[in-house]
Amino acid sequence: MVERRGTLGLLAHAVMIIGVLIILFPVYLAFVASTHTPAEVMQAPMPLLPGSHFWESYSAALTGSGHTSTHASVARMIWISFATACIITVGKISISLLSAFAVVYFRFPLRGVFFWLIFITLMLPVEVRIGPTYQVVADLHMINTYAGLAIPLIASATATFLFRQFFLTVPDELVEAARIDGAGPLRFFKDVLVPLSINSIAALFVIQFIYGWNQYLWPLIMATSEDMYPIVVGILGMIGQGESPVDWNIIMATAILAMLPPALVVVLMQKWFVKGLVETEK
């Protein structure tokens, strides 16, 4: 068990507090910067306490009226990010549930082969197959569309694997009881398997939403028009190439805004998230 002794406890707390400070300091700095005027931010040393221009920076960022290298509004970027993250998450979970269902509950030729094919795509993340994927998406005229941003990221070996492992723990008798009750495969899937997997689904929702939100490389080459920039790419666009001065307070406000939705998802779904990863319900 965990030891609970004075000095060790203090040491553990000290280590954790230092870790938290290291992580939080840049976030704090971004927040401070977002509450000052551009001139104040550019001072050396920059102020370390929040200033009084909070509303100006944030409303300028949300409406896109600031002095940055793009003119897209952050409200629009948040919407794009939110929409693609949602499509990716819902798509990933639905497809993974169905493919895990097929792999676990149906006997079809080459079942094992299909499972391992899905599994080895773990070794082929977007970055590795980015060239051919781009070609396919471009040929299908999906550049600068929600579909183009989301669909190539939907296939998920991790989620399939997670659901497969969960389905394997569902007792066979439950399947048999459902058969005797007259439930067909899809009925069993809908009425029994999905409700039983609800905790795993919630955990995956959190993980995949953040994954979708944080996508950078793919939207960077996919979204060429400013009004399709997700927020993570949008921040980069704002900084520009350094040819003209930019409003760092607005960029920092955008960065803070970019962090909020994933943080919100984690906070709201924390309970289910932990349950889904830890608890095995009987």
């Binding site: 007792p171 008798e173 439950l174 048999e176 009881a177 459902a178 058969r179 005797i180 009750d181 007259g182 439930a183 009925r187 009425d191 029994v192 409700p195 039983l196 609800i198 319900e281 009987k282």
Partner: protein, 338 residues
């Protein structure tokens, strides 16, 4: 309600010469309303046989009919059966009510009739107060009742029980056994009940099927099985302690096994001479283990005597006489009753 007919039922896993045959041609005719217990040691194929009747296992060859219908190619739901599983197999996320109603909902029974049927079953089983609870909030015995309730509401032609009592503790098991008997008297539905427990088999069965290694060794009433076991396997499986199966009895003919139950051997002034090897006290009775005085084999003869009887000293020579009308003879080569 319906009769069940098993006609040369065979189960094989795999095909060709490497096929593993686990059920070797079982024939049985079960009358409408009978309570049949299938009993045997683990791995004898009794559960497989039940699952074939349920439609959860394919029938490799032979025929199973329920009522007048051959059900070989029917889905479990179409066979008009209900099954109670060993671990109850309740849907964990559904309330007790929904668990019982699920099959009826799928069958598109009107909601008010579902309500009525579930309420009626809940009343019979005394689970009315739990209808809104989840299975995990119930005790083992209560879950067991819910599983039976789920079977009852379907109003099937046949009940199938797959070792439903083995997860209960001894006291609850005895109690549930009586309840199953009562339930069967009230509903009169043909039932097949699989167990490895001979006490369950003897107390519940109208007739019992004793299975060993995929073969039906005997099909008869508990009395028949006890008093006239068809094979040495049945003789040794039913009854505790098991029947003495003796090759070296003083008056034995070669090639014939003499069978005598421990309770049918009496210690007498003369008779079979035995050397006392061990004595066990069981409460109301005592088991005396003896070794033949006349031959040097390690064959043991068990005698069951009343506790009031004098305790024989270890190593002493005693005499025992079998009751003549209780002696069984079996063919040593085939194990069959002669």
């Amino acid at each position: 309600m319906a009769s069940i007919a098993l006609n040369n039922v065979v189960k094989r896993y795999g095909t060709g010469p490497k096929a593993n045959q686990v059920i070797h041609g079982v024939n049985a005719d079960i009358a409408d309303g009978e309570f049949i217990v299938i009993v045997g040691p683990s791995g004898c194929g009794k559960s497989t046989l039940l699952r074939m009747v349920a439609g959860l296992e394919e029938i490799s060859s032979g025929e199973i009919s329920i009522g007048s219908r051959v059900v070989n190619n029917l889905e479990p739901a179409e066979r008009d059966i209900a099954m109670v599983f060993q671990n109850y197999a309740l849907y964990p996320h559904m309330s007790v009510f929904d668990n019982m109603a699920y099959g009826l909902k799928i069958a598109k029974v009107p909601a008010d009739e579902i309500r009525a049927r579930v309420d009626k079953a809940a009343k019979i089983l005394e689970i009315g107060p739990f209808l809104q609870r989840k299975p995990r909030e119930l005790s083992g015995g209560q879950r067991q009742r819910v599983a039976m309730g789920r079977a009852i509401v379907r109003q099937p032609q046949v009940f199938l029980f797959d070792e439903p009592l083995s997860n209960l503790d001894a006291k609850l098991r005895a109690q549930t056994r009586l309840e199953i008997q009562k339930l069967h008297r009230e509903l009169g539905i043909t039932s097949l009940f699989v167990t490895h427990d001979q006490v369950e088999a003897m107390t519940l069965a109208h007739r019992m099927i004793v299975m060993n290694a995929g073969v039906m060794e005997q099909f008869g009433t508990p009395e028949e099985v006890y008093t006239r076991p068809a094979t040495t396997f049945v003789a040794s499986f039913i009854g505790s302690p098991p029947m003495n199966l003796l090759k070296n009895a003083p008056d034995a003919k070669p090639g014939v096994i003499t069978g005598i139950r421990p309770e049918h051997l009496d210690i007498t002034p003369s008779g079979w001479a035995l050397q006392v090897e061990a004595v066990e006290m069981l409460g109301a009775e005592r088991l005396v283990y003896g070794r033949w005085a006349h031959s040097a084999t390690d064959e043991l003869v068990i005698i069951r005597t009343e506790e009031a009887h004098a305790v024989p000293a270890l190593g002493a020579t005693i005499h025992a006489t079998p009751r003549p009308d209780r002696i069984h003879h079996f063919d040593a080569a085939t194990g069959k009753r002669i």
